[in-house]
């Protein structure tokens, strides 16, 4: 051979290798070799891009809708007028701004007067959402074509008109000014925002520039100033930082998550679940990729050996198989992205009825996420077994038994685990979830290997004593003990993922539904005098209105703990956040907008003089959704001088049972002993309290009462009647908010269910790849058995028994693993209570047996339908 041709051989062009790779790829595709690998890869891309597209659009839509609840993206509130600089700076940063002033005032007509919740808005209000108006009381609503009312005009809620005995076009008086009532206000986006004073009656909307002339705002008036901001996310973030730095934490911009614990909970949990779901789907697809790639590579040992005899070097073989994988990747990304788009459209279509809002268009990011996922899957799961091909000995062309050495190294496992970790951390951005998943999977894997090994041994020993199909099945399981353990492991991890997700889904949705059941009260009544309680109870009963207990309510400030000045609860809070921002808690508070709720009314010792006032109550009965976690409840034989404290609040104040607390209520000081701690469900739309006193403690202190009621549909008009009968009470309407929350929860629940289905498909793919992985060996074994005279029925029965046995073991182990994982996920991630799921101990093993047996038998049916001669000839070739 000439030197020239020798050097030509040394530099085999990449083009030639790519050509070889593409031909192998094409033929493998036609022969079905690559189908499962490609399918697994497509599955990974589809699930990730589909879920990413859906969550991308849904989250933006939900944020948009949530922003409507604030009438802005961010809100800043204060009792004193905040500096105008805040608005001008925001405008300079390209943000839209609006502002309003809220205050309670009396409004008069010629016929009567009424306490209203006035809101004076600037021209740009609302920045998000719409104002809905009507041309007559209780009339048909339409979207107002401008912002708020023009100067000299006011818009009022429907029930103001009958209360004042006026019509549209009539005049009302507010302070020193008179206004024309030009429209009926049906809905404002941020109606539920703000404390009691902002919502202390029906709404009157006016122009901000009209406020000075009314002279209703005097020094000392209870007024809330709110600045609203909307714009690009990044600009909002920058601005938020600027406000924090510039004003040293005095002002804080809130978003919807700060404003509503209920929505925030639903969104956060939903997002965690979607993320967990897509994570499971990808990891399962990853396992399927690893299994199929391994099988593909095992079937290509001969190829690699022949290529080596023809002069291919190890590196050239790596290039050929790398090209094949790249082509598969490319195809998977293209097909998976299209399928992902289809999947997310399908989800959207299914959810059409519960997503009333138009979704913003998708960004390109989900596709990038999908492609990157495929790349990680490729490198972590598929590449190692294929690159191991380069180690194939060319001697294999002479001796076939030189097969398995390259794949027995730990490399594929190391790569797989590393890739899995990268994916988990990348998706969750949460080390806790990562730690839980990794700990669960690895401990389960170790325990399972040992357990399934033992079970297989005892199970097969028992099987050996049974009939011939049993014997055949059990000896097959035993012969492939290592493989069987691996199969049980993969099956049980797959079933475990499915069970975990299924259980979480069920509990999550049940929890949401329990949070806001259908008969959740949707109106708060406050400022009820004690002499009005009995009459109101009669009124509600007569009108068939569902109501709840009346709680006495009064404002109390904690002065001392065990003789020491009481700390402010937020002193121990790094972020300075309130413990809760639940609607109910807010509603019970007289103020909540300031950077702190503390009153600066009195200077107490050497402290800054800030005493935090809380609305407190006393009752003999532990309120619903309250759970005692320490100490004892006083019950019916209560003694005065005891207090029960909400657990988080107690922790912030570092209280212990037996501590002596001194409160100031009005002009009096009251000393009580802490006798119990409670947990409170803040998101249940019920009156909730940090401090509950024992009956008799606060009897001498005057109080008003608080209760909740459920007004459904047409009952709403009774509100006017109620307010006419008891004009001094304050009614807070939260029905619109509840409806909004329920809609969001319904949306998230549906999404959660779809994700579970997707994971199910990924799981099925893993099961199929795992069964397929042993197909070659089964073909060989069963061909020999059949040539030796074993009947078709015997072989099928033994296959059925073998797979059912493996499925049963996997189901049992998966159930155990799932219960443990669900426990940690619920307690640590979703902050739910854990209850063991007894039914799953039946469903898990049963499902394992049925699924694995049917999948296994179905996939191996060919083993008995192909002629033994054809199999043996094929194998010897």
């Amino acid at each position: 051979m000439s030197e020239q041709s020798a050097s030509a051989f040394n530099t085999v062009s990449v083009r030639t290798l790519i050509g070889v790779a593409l031909r192998l790829l094409w033929r493998d595709w036609r022969g079905g070799e690559l189908r499962l690998l490609l399918l697994a890869m497509i599955m990974a891309v589809t699930s990730v891009s589909g879920i990413a597209l859906f969550t991308d659009r849904l989250e933006r839509a939900l944020l948009q809708e949530s922003a409507n609840m604030l009438a802005a993206d961010r809100v800043l509130g204060a009792r004193e007028q905040p500096p105008r600089e805040l608005l001008s700076e925001a405008e300079q940063r390209g943000l839209s701004t609006a502002e309003y002033i809220a205050f309670a005032s009396m409004v008069f007509s010629d016929q009567g007067n009424l306490l209203i919740a006035a809101k004076a808005v600037s021209d740009a209000y609302p920045l998000r959402g719409d104002l809905q108006v009507a041309d007559e009381a209780f009339g048909v609503a339409y979207v107002a074509d401008q912002g708020g009312p023009a100067r000299g005009e006011v818009w009022v809620e429907s029930r103001v008109l009958p209360s004042l005995d006026i019509n549209i076009g009539d005049t009302v008086f507010l302070g020193d000014s008179e206004f024309t009532v030009s429209r009926v206000l049906v809905q404002e986006p941020d109606r539920q925002q703000g404390g009691m004073m902002e919502n202390a009656g029906p709404r009157l909307l006016m122009h901000m520039d009209d406020v000075p002339a009314t002279n209703v705002i005097q020094p000392g008036s209870r007024v809330t100033y709110r600045y609203l901001f909307a714009g690009e996310q990044s600009a909002l973030e920058d601005y938020t930082t600027w406000v924090r730095n510039q004003f040293d934490g005095q002002y804080r911009l809130r978003d919807v998550r700060d404003e509503s614990a209920e929505v925030s909970e639903a969104l956060n949990r939903g997002e965690s679940f979607l993320l967990l779901g897509s994570l499971f789907a990808v990891l399962l697809a990853g396992v399927a990729i690893a299994l199929t790639a391994r099988r593909y590579s095992e079937r290509h040992f001969d190829y690699a050996a022949i290529l080596k005899t023809l002069g291919c070097t190890s590196n050239q073989i790596s290039i050929i198989y790398f090209c094949i994988l790249l082509a598969v990747l490319l195809l998977a990304v293209i097909v998976g992205s299209i399928a992902g788009w289809g999947l997310h459209m399908l989800i959207l279509n299914l959810l059409q009825s519960v997503i009333p809002i138009s979704l913003p268009p998708a960004s390109g990011l989900p596709f990038v996420v999908g492609a990157l996922t495929a790349l990680i899957c490729l490198f972590a799961f598929a590449l190692p077994p294929l690159l191991a091909l380069k180690h194939t000995s060319p001697l294999r062309v002479l001796r076939k038994d030189l097969a398995d050495a390259p794949l027995s190294t730990a490399l594929p496992y190391v790569f797989g685990i590393a890739g899995g970790l990268v994916l988990v951390i990348w998706y969750s951005q949460d080390l806790l979830i990562t730690a839980i998943l990794v700990a669960a999977v690895s401990s389960v894997a170790v325990a399972l290997s040992a357990l399934s090994y033992l079970l297989l041994r005892s199970g097969t020993a028992a099987g050996m004593r049974a009939g011939s199909a049993w014997m055949l099945a059990m000896s097959a399981v035993r012969r492939r003990r290592r493989q069987s353990v691996l199969q049980v492991l993969v099956f049980s991890l797959t079933i475990m993922s499915l069970l975990t997700l299924g259980l979480l889904r069920t509990d999550l949705i049940a929890d949401w539904q329990a949070q806001l059941p259908e008969n959740t009260p949707n109106h708060f009544m406050m400022n009820i005098r004690s002499d009005q309680v009995a009459g109101m109870e009669d009124y509600l009963r007569d009108n068939d209105i569902q109501s709840n207990p009346f709680y006495p309510m009064m404002s109390a400030g904690l002065l001392r703990v065990n003789g020491e000045t009481a700390p402010l609860p937020w002193d121990n809070d790094e972020e300075g956040n309130n413990a809760s921002s639940s609607v109910t808690e807010r509603s019970a508070e007289s103020s909540q907008d300031d950077a702190s709720d503390a009153d600066a009314a009195e200077n107490d010792g050497n402290r800054s003089g800030r005493v935090e006032n809380r609305q407190v109550t006393y009752t003999a009965q532990l309120p619903p959704d309250n759970e005692l976690v320490a100490g004892s409840w006083w019950g019916s034989d209560a003694r005065p001088g005891e207090v029960s404290v909400e657990l988080d609040y107690a922790n912030r104040l570092r209280l212990e049972l037996g501590d002596e607390l001194v409160f100031r209520l009005g002009q009096q000081e009251v000393t009580v002993t802490v006798t119990s701690f409670r947990t409170v469900r803040w998101d249940n739309m019920q009156p909730n309290f940090f401090f509950i006193f024992s009956p008799g403690t606060l009897d001498s202190i005057g109080s008003t009462y608080l209760s909740t009621l459920l007004l459904q549909g047409e009952q709403k008009v009774l509100l006017n009647d109620l307010l006419r009968t008891y004009p001094t009470i304050v009614v807070l309407e939260v029905d619109a908010l509840i409806e909004q929350i329920q809609t969001i929860i319904a949306q998230v629940s549906s999404a959660v269910e779809l994700i579970a289905v997707l994971v199910l498909i990924a799981g099925a793919l893993v099961l199929l790849s795992c069964v397929n992985a042993t197909l070659d060996e089964r073909f060989r074994e069963n061909a020999i058995l059949r040539t030796l005279g074993a009947g078709r029925k015997l072989i099928m029965t033994s296959l059925l028994i073998e797979f059912a046995f493996i499925g049963l073991l996997a189901g049992l182990i998966a159930t155990l693993g799932a219960e443990i994982s669900v426990y940690y996920l619920q307690v640590e991630v979703f902050q739910q209570e854990f209850f063991p799921h007894y039914w799953v101990w039946i469903v898990g093993p049963l499902a394992g047996t049925l699924i694995i047996a049917s999948l296994g038998v179905n996939a191996t049916r060919r083993v008995v339908s192909t002629s033994p001669l054809a199999v043996l000839r094929n194998l010897s070739a």
Partner: protein
């Protein structure tokens, strides 16, 4: 005459659970260019192992193995692969065609690996030469055993190898087909002037070679040139 293949004190040992097993012991053998050599022996005598060592598919435990003047014992697998690509062709008992590729593509492969732009044309000519011009687009599983072996022979000659190793080339074929395939192999060998080393059980096939080397329990017991008988 220059040596195409030369084994010097070649030994192959493997370690098994029952201790060390000597497969080839002190093999000394020299094969000249254009020679045709049959290696015969009973099953387990080490003939396939010797073929593997001579072709650079495996490495010896001790001793030197020279192929086309290059010492395989001092080369790593990458270098041996290149040498195989340059100088060696194979014909196997189980044909070893790539099932994913058509007959034409199988024959094209070694030519393409040499960056030859005329791979398709040369492969088609070779297939015509082995009488398979009508089967170029067929996949191996669509061909009979004899046809597959003819494709394998065409592939072996496609790389213009200096030396051809054949491992039981008729082992999977019936007598008539086997005879036809052997005729073809020898005729092409003569045409291309290639060195041919074949391992076989088949005495009639061995008789067609110019030299016969007999292995018994890993040792050469007989090395005869046609018409001559030399016992070692």
């Amino acid at each position: 005459m220059t040596s195409m293949v030369e084994a010097r004190h070649l030994c192959k040992r493997v370690t098994t659970s029952e201790g060390e097993l000597v497969i080839l012991s002190d093999i000394n053998l020299s094969i000249s260019a254009a020679e045709t050599v049959a290696i015969v022996g009973a099953s387990g005598s080490g003939k396939s192992t010797l073929l593997g060592l001579m072709a650079g598919l495996d490495s010896a435990s001790s001793g030197d193995m020279l192929l086309d003047g290059q010492n395989l014992s001092t080369m790593d697998e990458e270098q041996r692969a290149r040498l195989r690509g340059q100088s060696v062709g194979f014909v196997f008992q189980s044909f070893q065609l790539l099932p994913s590729l058509t007959a034409l593509e199988n024959v094209m492969l070694p030519i393409e690996l040499k960056n030859d732009r005329n791979a398709r044309q040369k492969a088609a000519q070779l297939l015509q030469r082995v009488g398979l011009e009508a089967r170029v687009t067929h996949y191996p599983n669509q061909l009979s055993g004899g046809e597959q072996q003819r494709v394998a022979i065409a592939r072996a000659f496609a790389s213009q190898a200096k030396i051809l190793f054949a491992d039981e080339p008729t082992g999977n074929l019936d007598t008539t087909t086997g005879a036809k395939v052997i005729d073809l192999l020898f005729s092409l060998n003569k045409e291309y002037g290639t060195t041919l080393v074949l391992v076989t059980h088949d005495d009639r096939l061995a008789q067609r070679c110019g030299r016969l080397v007999r292995l018994v329990a890993g040792e050469i017991t007989e090395d005869v040139v046609a018409g001559d008988a030399v016992h070692v």
